[in-house]
Structures are given as structure tokens and as C-alpha cells.
């Protein structure tokens, strides 16, 4: 096969004089395409989805991505010869056509390109440094029409340079004294406009009614209608009052997101001083800020919740940007304890198999390759703590059997509207959710087929729990059945070939 869409005849030029003569070479000729390369255990491997420009062969595109994300520039430079350049050069070693793209399909040809990077290309413990290479400049590179980072295999040696989640699922549960069931939360609504006093009311009612957590929304920081100190003070009054009313540990994710690190530290310190178990940040604060807050959280016995605000700007479309599973990996390394990772059944994007891949990435100590869930590589998590996924957005008590089946026990189920919108009030909404959850966990443990019997299990519980019956009457039939945009490229039967 040569000179077609996949490959070109250009070979790596090995003669030093020719290779380093001034001028412009193809990336393949420069040595960024090495089909015989066998990745080392210590290599970081990135897998990109490439949509080449018309007439550019896929292997040259892959070589270009390898080049521009490691040592190359557009022209030959002799100063390469002062370095161990063979080592530092990223190596594209494999290109596969993406199933169901190209001639005869509705999608233009795409390719999966595998690129290996030597460990020494990256600074330990720095997501910023890793990403500056891997997603630094290549996404604007002209030779590719579109580019998407699909997955990463991170070597154990590199993982060991990261702190990982400040608290982790196991310790979070121990601190909360809550085992054997998903945690329950709700986001305070309306997300904008409430005064501190009114806001705390919603928090108190939800927690007293049966939720474990209430939550600030991503854009509640310190606005004219409610400054942050007011929110923190009233929320902690609500948390402690609800804790006394129930005998349970309760929490409210106090969002410390702010314009500067100094401001965030100040807010986090105040949250700690008030006795909060958990604080919150938004993904938009950036990788370095997230890592700093994770270090602070570890040092101060604080659970760190991350809202993935902004991620869909680059993770939703299939041909360009990066897959959310990569964000999951980076956030586990960066050290957050919670991350919103999809609901399957709610109002936001989420194919069941893709979401499973995200959840496995966050919660398992080791993930095998699984093409159907989008995990292209086996990954050993090297004892990094587990991240608690958060399912939030358009979910309600009537879906409890589906949520438990899809998402399992180690997850925070967040019913915002599904709590606060209850016809009999917020406490009743919270109680409906807690009863639905406990009834479903009990039934599952008893060996019942909750996928099919779920609606009946809920109706039965609704007979003795009026708030649940009312919730089912209002929301029982609400569903969000839209086609997902981010789906697997391989059918569940496909066999692994890496």
C-alpha cells in the first residue's frame, strides 16, 4: 500500500548529512513515523483521531502530530544534533482507519494514530507541562483538518509523581460514615439570585430531608446578590443544623472558585475555619490551580469537588478536541475527589458505554483495554486514590433503578430540580430520593432484577412514602432520549488488536 490515503513512500532519512541539510522535510522523513517501534513500559502513549487535509496521507499526518507535539518545527534545524534527538522525538507507530468513516460513509475519512513519548519529555507532577506538549499547539496545525485526543496510556513511573485525589472514595466514605449506597446530593436552585439567607434555607431543607450533600453551582462565586462570606456562613449554619436534626454527617460543596489563587486560598481557609467537610472548584480555573487546590485539600483534611464547567466546549464533538476520558485521567492525577462524569439518563450528553469508560477510569485500580467503552489502553493506576463520579443534570427518583444499574454504588447522585421542584417542598423531595435509593439498593442486594422490576419497587415504596409517590406522579414519565454524539467506534463484539 503506498501513495493512497493511508501511506506515502517517504522514508526516514538516516544519512546525517542529508537529514540535517537546511530546508524543509516531510515529518516522516525527519523520523517521526516509526512503524516498527515497540513502545516501552515507561513511554506515555497518546491516541489521536486524525482527519487529514485533502491529499495528506494519514501516516504523514500522524508523523506531523508526533513532531509538533514533541521536538519538531516546520524546518530542519542543525541544533537537533546537539541532543539525544532520537530519544526526544515522539514516535507515531501505528495508524488505523476509524470504522464507519471514509468512502461510502457519511463521514470523511478519519484515522486513529498512536504516538509514543519518552518519559523524559515531561516534568513530574505537572499536568500543565504534560498538556503543553500533548495538546499544546498541534490542534491548530494546518495539515490536519481536525484532531481529537482520544486516550492516553500513562506509565506508572509518571503517575507516581502525582499526589492523586486529596481524599479518595474510601476515605471520603469513612469521614462521612456512609457506606453501601450511592451518596445523594442536590444543587441549590435557582443557581443565581438568592440572598445568602434564602440560599441557606434551600441547603437546610434538602439536608434535613435526607440528602448527604448540597452544592453550589459552577457560577456561584461572589456576585452582587450574594457575596461569598455570606453564603459560607449561612450554608454552614444549615449544614450543622441539619446534622443535629438527623444525627448524620452532612456537607455543602462551598465553591471557592475565584479570580486569583490568593482569593481561592482565602475562601478555602474560611470554609475550613467554619468546619466544612468539602469545598468545590470549577474546571475552568485551570490545571495548575486545580493541582494547587488538591495539595491544599490534602493538607487540610478537605474533600475537593470539581465541577467540569467548560468541558463540553472541547469534549463533545467527535472529530475535534479531546475525549472526556482524558480529562478524567488528568483530574485523577491532578488530585480532585469528585468530578461530574455523566448520568446516562439525564439531560446532558452521555452514551451508556462511554460513561462506563469514564466511571471505570475514575474508580478502578486497574482498567483493562475495552474498546466498547472507549478505553484504548490497559491502565494501571499505581495506587492513586479513586475519584467519586458525580451524576448530575435532569435526573429524578423515578430513574433510580436505571441509575443504580448504570452507575453502581460509588457515585454521588445529584437531583437538583428533582429535589427542589417537589410539589410538597424541598424536604419532601429529598425524602423521596432517599427512600427511592434505599429501597432500590435493598432490592438489588436481595437479588431482585431491578432493571425490570424497578418501577414496581418504587411504586411499592410509594405506598408507604407519600413524598415518593408524589415525585413519581410528577416526574415518573420524564426522560431525555436523544442520540449521543460521542459514541464508541467499535461494536461491543470487536476484539482488541493493540
Amino acid at each position: 500500500m503506498s501513495n493512497d490515503a493511508m501511506t506515502s513512500d517517504d522514508r526516514q532519512i538516516t544519512d546525517g548529512k542529508k537529514r540535517y541539510a537546511a530546508g524543509v522535510l516531510k515529518y516522516k522523513q525527519m523520523g517521526y513515523w516509526q512503524p516498527d517501534y515497540v513502545p516501552k513500559d515507561t513511554d506515555l502513549i497518546a491516541m489521536f483521531r486524525i482527519t487529514p487535509q485533502e491529499g495528506v496521507p494519514a501516516d504523514e499526518c500522524a508523523a506531523a502530530v508526533a513532531g509538533e507535539s514533541s521536538t519538531a518545527t516546520w524546518t530542519v534545524v542543525w541544533t537537533d544534533r546537539l541532543t539525544a534527538c532520537e530519544l526526544y522525538r515522539a514516535k507515531a507507530y501505528r495508524v488505523d482507519p476509524v470504522p464507519n468513516t471514509g468512502a461510502g460513509t457519511r463521514t470523511e475519512a478519519q484515522y486513529f494514530a498512536y504516538i509514543a513519548y519518552d518519559l523524559d519529555l515531561f516534568e513530574g507532577g505537572s499536568i500543565a507541562n504534560l498538556t503543553a506538549s500533548i495538546i499544546g499547539i498541534v490542534f491548530g496545525f494546518k495539515a490536519v483538518k481536525a484532531l481529537r485526543l482520544e486516550d492516553l496510556r500513562i506509565p506508572v513511573a509518571y503517575l507516581k509523581t502525582f499526589q492523586g485525589p486529596a481524599t479518595g472514595i474510601v476515605v471520603e466514605r469513612e469521614r462521612l460514615d456512609k457506606f453501601g449506597r450511592p451518596l445523594l446530593g442536590a444543587t441549590t436552585k435557582p443557581k443565581l439570585g438568592l440572598s445568602g439567607r434564602n440560599y441557606g434555607r434551600v441547603v437546610y431543607e434538602g439536608l434535613k430531608g435526607g440528602l448527604d450533600f448540597m452544592k453550589d453551582d459552577e457560577n456561584i462565586n461572589s456576585q452582587p446578590f450574594m457575596h461569598w462570606r455570606d453564603r459560607f456562613l449561612y450554608c454552614m449554619e444549615a449544614v450543622n443544623k441539619a446534622s443535629a436534626a438527623t444525627g448524620e454527617v452532612k456537607g455543602h460543596y462551598l465553591n471557592v472558585t475565584a479570580g486569583t489563587m490568593e482569593e481561592m486560598y482565602e475562601r478555602a481557609e474560611f470554609a475550613k475555619q467554619l468546619g466544612s467537610a468539602i469545598i468545590m472548584i470549577d474546571l475552568v480555573i485551570g490545571y495548575t490551580a486545580i493541582q494547587s487546590m488538591a495539595k491544599w485539600a490534602r493538607k487540610n483534611d478537605m474533600i475537593l469537588h470539581l465541577h467540569r464547567a467548560g468541558n463540553s466546549t472541547y469534549s463533545r464533538q467527535k472529530n475535534h478536541g479531546m475525549n472526556f476520558r482524558v480529562i478524567c485521567k488528568w483530574m485523577r492525577m491532578a488530585g480532585v475527589d469528585h468530578i461530574h462524569a455523566g448520568t446516562v439518563v439525564g439531560k446532558l450528553e452521555g452514551d451508556p458505554l462511554m460513561i462506563k469508560g469514564f466511571y471505570d477510569t475514575l474508580r478502578e485500580t486497574h482498567t483493562p483495554q475495552s474498546l466498547e467503552t472507549g478505553l484504548f489502553f490497559e491502565q494501571d493506576w499505581a495506587s492513586l486514590n479513586k475519584v467519586m463520579p458525580v451524576a448530575s443534570g435532569g435526573i429524578h427518583a423515578g430513574q433510580m433503578h436505571q441509575l443504580l444499574t448504570y452507575l453502581g454504588d460509588d457515585v454521588v447522585l445529584q437531583f437538583g430540580g428533582g429535589t427542589i421542584g417537589h410539589p410538597q417542598g424541598i424536604q419532601a423531595g429529598a425524602t423521596a430520593n432517599r427512600v427511592a435509593l434505599e429501597a432500590m439498593v435493598m432490592a438489588r442486594n436481595e437479588g431482585r432484577d431491578i432493571w425490570n422490576e424497578g418501577p414496581q419497587i418504587l411504586r411499592d415504596a410509594g405506598r408507604w412514602c407519600t413524598p415518593l409517590r408524589q415525585a413519581l406522579d410528577v416526574w415518573g414519565d420524564v426522560s431525555f432520549n436523544y442520540e449521543s454524539t460521542d459514541t464508541a467506534d467499535y461494536a461491543p463484539t470487536a476484539t482488541a488488536s493493540v
Binding site: V170, G180, G247, E248, M442
Partner: protein, 144 residues
């Protein structure tokens, strides 16, 4: 009297459901045993949310095969401490967990007075909170 929806302490994974029957307790134990988790029975008359270490009614039953054995122990604990909180905890020894994986209350006092919230007003608008169990004003063993 507690004023939350169930008017009782809602620690544990099934506190919002009606009291578990012996048959229900048995099937939950069977679920744990199937997963190779060990069952522990603990009791207390200090249900403060931060009271981690309830008294152990014997060590966790590591080599238990039959749920009936655990139920026997639970009923024995109930007989010895009829007015205490008694909880069943499942322990998972798997690497990456090594922590409790289930916890539910199987006995509680007839009357649960609950907790008061003590507020110590400090600098500015800040308050230092203490959750105080009414029952613990009496000596251990004389509370419920």
C-alpha cells in the same frame, strides 16, 4: 423528639426504610457473604455522627459461611443491649478498598431524643458549632 422526616437517627444505609425484618437482614448478610465481605456487629448509646468507634460485639466474623450465624449474633446483641443502637457493618479486605462497604442499623432505642446544636458566637459573624447528644448527658449504659 427528633423533627426530621423519620423522627430518628438516619445513619446507615437503610434508615429511611421500615425496620428490617429478620428475613431482610438475612438477605443483606447473604449479599455481603457472596462478595466475601466479613460481618461485624457493633453497639453504642452515643450516636453522635462523629462517634466512629462503636463497641464491638465480638470481632468481625471472618470465616462465616452461613448468614444464619450472623443473625444469631445480632439477636444475641439485641437481647443484651435492647435499648442501644446496633449496626451491622460489612468489611471488604480487597486491595483498593480495605474499608467498610455496608452499614445499617438493626436495633435502636424506643425513644430517640436526638441532638441539640450548640452555637458559640466567635469573631465577626462566625459561629463555632457543637452537635450535642441529649442522651449523653447521662452516664454510659444509663442513657436510653
Amino acid at each position: 423528639m427528633m423533627t426530621n422526616p423519620n423522627q430518628r437517627v438516619t445513619q446507615g444505609q437503610f434508615s429511611f426504610l421500615p425496620e428490617l425484618t429478620d428475613a431482610q437482614i438475612t438477605s443483606q448478610i447473604e449479599y455481603a457473604l457472596k462478595k466475601s465481605w466479613s460481618i461485624g456487629i457493633e453497639y453504642t448509646d452515643d450516636p453522635h455522627p462523629r462517634n466512629t468507634y462503636w463497641e464491638m460485639f465480638g470481632n468481625p466474623m471472618f470465616d462465616l459461611k452461613d448468614a444464619a450465624g450472623a443473625l444469631l449474633e445480632i439477636n444475641s446483641a439485641r437481647k443484651t443491649f435492647p435499648n442501644h443502637y446496633i449496626r451491622v457493618t460489612a468489611f471488604d479486605a480487597t486491595r483498593g478498598v480495605e474499608s467498610p462497604t455496608m452499614s445499617y442499623i438493626v436495633n435502636r432505642p424506643a425513644k430517640e431524643p436526638g441532638f441539640g446544636l450548640v452555637r458559640q458566637e466567635i469573631e465577626g459573624r462566625s459561629v463555632r458549632y457543637t452537635i450535642h447528644s441529649y442522651a449523653t448527658d447521662k452516664a454510659e449504659g444509663e442513657r436510653y
